[in-house]
């Protein structure tokens, strides 16, 4: 089955726009019910069953994080950081009948109280075709600085 590159790119750009705007409820809707969201810690490839991750969350746990972010008392969001990310180097592969494996690079600038940080990493999406569009079945973010000190990543990437 062939894929429409424009449609995949548009989906990633929509996701980036939602995250930049901290529209977390709409962002969560992009995920499949059985989705996995994963940011490994320390190394790019780890065994999550016996090694710690920065985030290793199913959709329910992502919902828990989002409730907290939107609660008004996630103090590290007060004031909110300003976020802007570029998505590039997009490579797409078929994965079975329904899914696509999409690898991309993100570059994210975070600005808060005059301090700016730059985060960069490779993102591995597994997308499933759904109602004419896509749903995220798995998202793994391999940060360049996953073995370095990171003060705050609660805004999610």
């Amino acid at each position: 089955m062939s894929f429409d590159r424009d449609a995949v790119e548009s989906f990633l750009f929509l996701e980036a726009r939602l995250l930049d705007g901290m529209a977390y409820e709409a962002w969560l809707e992009l995920f499949d019910e059985k989705a996995l969201y994963w940011i490994p810690s320390n190394r790019d490839h780890i065994d999550p069953a016996r090694e710690v991750s920065i985030v290793y969350a199913d959709r329910e746990q992502l919902g828990f994080r989002i409730d907290q972010l939107l609660s008004g008392s996630a103090w590290v969001q007060d004031p909110q950081p300003r976020l802007c990310r570029a998505v590039s180097n997009i490579e797409i592969r078929e994965a079975g009948d329904e899914d696509l494996e999409v690898e991309s690079v993100i570059q994210l600038m975070v600005l808060r109280r005059q301090k700016s940080r730059n985060l960069m990493g490779r993102v591995h999406h597994r997308l499933r075709r759904h109602a004419g569009g896509f749903r995220i079945v798995q998202k793994k973010v391999v940060l360049v600085d996953n073995d370095e000190v990171i003060d705050d990543l609660t805004f999610l990437v």
């Binding site: 940011i39 810690s41 320390n42 190394r43 780890i46 999550p48 069953a49 016996r50 090694e51 710690v52 991750s53 920065i54 985030v55 290793y56 969350a57 746990q61 828990f64 994080r65 409730d67 907290q68 609660s71 008004g72 008392s73 996630a74 103090w75 590290v76 007060d78 073995d147 370095e148 000190v149 990171i150 003060d151 705050d152 990543l153 609660t154 999610l156």
Partner: protein, 352 residues
């Protein structure tokens, strides 16, 4: 415990954070050392005179090293109180509770490290770790979420909590929820789940410690303690606070795996840890935010003092001579800062 510093021109001789090596060779001028620290060789040795003795140039060692339950402690002072004198029996008992959650009595720190930090003084994190007053406010969103999902109230940090705040001397401080956990429905639920999910684990603990203590170990779920100055053991993690500058602190947190338990238990411990801790955790980034707000506030010259007098009127003395108060009291902050001040005033000749 060797210093990673060439005795020639001070370059680091080992660049790896973990691993094994038989020897270390300084890349700068080629001096090489055995893994015992002994100087093995220097290039073009004839360039040093007849008085040069290789035994004078081994890698320097921390003057005093001691350990308890596998935790290595080093002191940069050649003399002073011993590790056991510094810790004292109540702290060693808490370290036992932490390690004995494993049926073999051994914890495993190979699960990786969360590294995060904040622009503030290191003592802010040390004081906060055993601050039983802040959780219901700093972490209110997290606890509200837990309450909604678990359908149960977390009452440990309420003003009427049955938990205690203890100053064990030498700056060592403890949030003591042992009595509280014995009747806490959330602790009971967690222990029941472990018995259901991992019966062999529970049985191994009973075999080793007897039923009553096995039940206690699981109910207490580790400890919540500061080992002055910068080691913390709380719940399932080992935390080391690293002062970088007067207004910058890094924190390294390692979740402890338990040796000899079914994988499902360790995986559950990791997932619980990630929810609250680490750069994206639901808890500690909010703590870091508070520390940065405090650090800014500390610049004020009009009134530079802080008020940590909570519970001063109700401090009590326990049978072992240590002081304790109610969970939300600031007794532990006072204990840490009194000891820190004593050491700072003692200067070079002080105990360490």
């Amino acid at each position: 415990m060797l210093l990673n510093r060439c005795t020639h021109r001070a370059a680091s001789v080992c660049q790896a954070e973990r691993g094994n090596a038989r020897s270390f060779r300084c890349a700068y001028h080629g001096w090489s050392f055995k893994n015992t620290g002994e100087l093995a060789g220097v290039p073009y040795a004839d360039g040093y005179g007849p008085d040069f003795r290789k035994e004078d140039f081994g890698l320097r060692s921390v003057p005093r090293v001691d350990s308890y339950r596998g935790f290595l402690f080093g002191s940069v002072q050649p003399t002073g109180i011993t590790l056991r004198e510094h810790l004292g029996a109540p702290v060693m008992e808490q370290m036992d509770l932490f390690c004995d959650l494993s049926p073999s009595g051994k914890i495993d720190l190979s699960a990786g490290t969360h590294r995060y930090g904040f622009d503030g003084n290191w003592k802010l994190q040390v004081e906060n770790t055993i601050d039983g007053y802040h959780p219901n406010f700093t972490h209110q969103a997290f606890f509200k979420g837990v309450k909604q999902r678990m359908g149960a109230n977390m009452t440990l940090y309420e003003g009427t909590s049955g938990g205690f705040n203890r100053d064990l001397g030498n700056g060592l401080t403890l949030l003591d929820s042992r009595e509280f956990s014995r009747t806490d429905p959330l602790a009971k639920r967690r222990v029941d789940m472990i018995k259901l999910m991992a019966k062999p684990y529970y049985e191994a603990l009973v075999d080793r410690h007897g039923e009553a203590h096995a039940e206690d170990l699981l109910r207490f779920n580790g400890t919540h303690m500061n080992v002055f100055p910068n080691l913390m053991l709380l719940q399932n993690q080992v935390r080391v606070v690293r002062p970088i500058r007067v207004d910058r602190t890094d924190i390294h947190v390692q979740p402890a795996l338990l040796e000899g338990v079914p994988d499902v238990i360790n995986t559950m411990r990791l997932r619980m840890h990630e929810q609250f801790y680490g750069p994206a955790g639901g808890g500690n980034p909010d703590d870091g935010e508070m520390f940065e707000r405090v650090q800014v506030g500390l610049r004020a010259s009009v009134d530079p003092w802080l008020f940590i007098g909570r519970g001063l009127h109700r401090e009590r003395q326990d049978s072992d001579g240590t002081r304790y108060g109610q969970m939300t009291d600031e007794l532990s902050q006072r204990g840490i800062l009194h000891h820190w001040r004593k050491l700072m005033l003692a200067g070079e000749s002080g105990e360490s």
